[in-house]
């Protein structure tokens, strides 16, 4: 008799399997688009044999808003409003590579202070995105409490982002050549520009300290939980080679043991001035993906604290023409988003808007690995693996 179960995929279950083949029929299970743990409107069509899943087909497009097409009829400043809705969990991070690309083509040198503010908010967006992941992931493996703690801690960070930009999720704060004067600041006459709201440094220091505490708490309470370990260790193992071929980036790639962080290559933000570790995983399983993100939160908080201390003074805006026209040319600018490599390929024809804007999002490539990872998994693992990829449907469908 043939044992139909592949022991490499799930150690424990295969031990309990018997070598008698029962005549079974596969059932097609439709998961989503309305399902508690599909992060919005992802739909999976899976064949299930009892609890065992195979042949998963993701069905996308429920959140497709045609940003690439819309970008063709908009001017560059208008596109900034558009792009921070791509990954709404970390809205600020979406603006960075686009603005940097336009600035690169226009050969604008951004003032240091603006760069620092961008960096701080970018890291805050990363922290808030990882908080959401932490809470939601615990929820997906069945722990109902952590999401409340995560949301409470995220709120502090969002408050800070709001105090600077005026928006919690969609800041639309970057301008070509710099950043906009902060929302909470006083009258923005040329002489008296208060770019950051009063008390921002103090509040940030407190909030970042809390972030570090919260991340420690997550590591103890979730990471140290035996049930959580049982559910996530050796589940959904992704090798580095496969990840690279699929273009999987960000924390997922790092969890597979690849020390790759685009922050070291983002020359348009002063990441090289600060010290931080790049946490990597060993096995590339769900637990490592979770662990890498928690550690990243601590590193991000450290970066913000350093950036606050070394904040240069100076203008917020470079001199830019009133009508922004980007010279003819093309460039691909990538950035390390909370989810992975996010980039914009801007093809400019010298007009008011781009001739073509290709948006490369992290979640799209990260999600494309899903059918491979789910082959032969159990249904509860499907949720655990899907959650560990930390995608946002807006980021997948664009």
């Amino acid at each position: 008799m043939v044992n139909t179960l592949d022991p490499q995929n799930f150690n424990n279950f295969s031990e309990a399997s018997v070598s008698v083949e029962i005549e079974t029929e596969d059932m097609t299970l439709n998961i989503g688009p309305q399902h508690p743990s599909t992060h919005g409107v992802l739909r999976l069509v899976a064949k299930v044999d009892g609890e065992k899943v195979h042949d998963v087909k993701p069905v996308l497009g429920y959140m497709h808003r045609g940003y690439e097409k819309l970008a063709e009829v908009r001017s560059y400043p208008q596109i900034t409003t558009l792009v921070n809705r791509i990954d709404w969990v970390a809205g600020f991070s979406n603006e960075i590579p686009f603005i940097a690309g336009a600035e690169r083509l226009m050969e604008i040198e951004v003032p240091e202070r603006a760069k620092h503010i961008r960096l701080i908010l970018n890291e805050m967006a990363r922290i808030s995105s990882h908080f959401v992941f932490n809470g939601a992931y615990a929820l997906e493996v069945g722990a109902l409490t952590p999401i409340f703690y995560a949301m409470e801690d995220r709120e502090r960070v969002l408050d800070l982002i709001e105090s600077v930009t005026g928006g919690r999720f969609h800041p639309n704060f970057n301008r070509i050549g710099g950043v906009k004067p902060a929302a909470g600041s006083g009258p923005t006459t040329k002489k008296d520009i208060q770019d950051l709201p009063a008390g921002f440094y103090r509040d940030t220091k407190v909030a970042m300290q809390k972030v570090i505490e919260a991340a420690d708490q997550f590591q103890n309470l979730i990471g140290g939980n035996e049930v959580f370990k049982k559910r996530t260790k050796n589940v959904g193992i992704l090798s580095a080679e496969t990840a690279e071929a699929f273009g999987v980036s960000g924390p997922i790639l790092r969890a597979s043991g690849v020390k790759s962080d685009l922050r070291t290559q983002m020359d348009y933000l002063p990441y090289d001035q600060f010290e931080y570790d790049i946490p990597i995983g060993e096995n590339g399983d769900c637990y490592d993906r979770w662990d890498v993100r928690v550690k990243e939160m601590i590193e991000s908080a450290k970066i913000v604290l350093q950036a606050i201390d070394s904040m240069p003074s100076g203008p917020l805006q470079a001199k830019v023409p009133k009508v922004i026209k980007v010279p003819k040319g093309r460039t691909y600018v990538r950035a390390e988003n909370p989810k992975g490599e996010m980039g914009y390929y801007i093809v400019s024809d010298g007009g008011l808007g781009p001739y073509r804007l290709k948006v490369r999002t992290a979640s799209f490539s990260n999600l494309s690995i899903l059918p491979l990872l789910l082959e032969g998994a159990l249904l509860p693992d499907l949720i655990a693996i899907m959650g560990s990829l930390d995608f946002v449907l807006g980021d997948v469908d664009r």
Partner: protein, 181 residues
């Protein structure tokens, strides 16, 4: 980086460097060969993305190119290496009347979804693709939305209000070179 660039220039004829990105232009017949080479010899194992550009003189959305172009599809892939700075884009031009090219799925498994997207958005056929179906668009959807000839219906009904801001700008403000932020 320097070494890498000179090696690329030795191997490929049409290359240029812009903003630290190496662009390689190849014939569509050498599409597969080029990528195989870049993956094996140049160690560019990370498949970032694949997409296309519709070059056309008559457009229904956006602005037409300022200089006349020959109508064609340009297909671009972006490859990189996770452990260093090397970033390469490869592009090729294919004919609009017969839009087809060999699929890269055999070399880079990640090209699968990107090619499906290009297929539905531009109508480009990727030969040897294991599952060339629509990715985003619903069944029965007609047309390829990313083509320049495809009209944005909502813009036909009501012009984008934001356009007024930019287009209505008087000429002299442009000569007023800059503003202070």
């Amino acid at each position: 980086m320097e070494e890498f660039l000179s090696k690329i220039q030795e191997n490929f004829i049409k290359t240029d460097v812009a903003f630290e990105t190496i662009n390689i232009k190849v014939e569509s017949s050498k599409w597969i060969e080029t990528h195989q080479k870049l993956k094996d010899e140049f160690d560019l194992k990370f498949f970032s993305w694949l997409s296309a550009i519709d070059w056309d003189n008559e457009v229904s959305t956006g602005e037409a190119p300022k200089e006349t172009v020959s109508p064609s599809f340009e297909i671009i892939t972006c490859l990189s290496n996770v452990s260093n700075n090397n970033l390469v884009t490869v592009s090729t031009t294919i004919n609009k009347s017969e839009p087809k090219i060999t699929s890269l799925v055999e070399i880079y498994a990640g090209a699968n979804w990107h090619e499906r997207e290009a297929y539905e958005m531009f109508g480009i056929n990727f030969e040897n693709h294991p599952n060339l179906e629509k990715l985003y668009l619903p069944d029965g959807y007609e047309g390829n939305p990313m083509l320049k000839s495809f009209e944005l219906i909502s813009r036909e009904v009501k012009p984008w209000p934001g356009e007024v801001d930019v287009e209505g700008m008087p000429e002299e403000s442009e000569s007023d070179e800059s503003v202070d932020g």
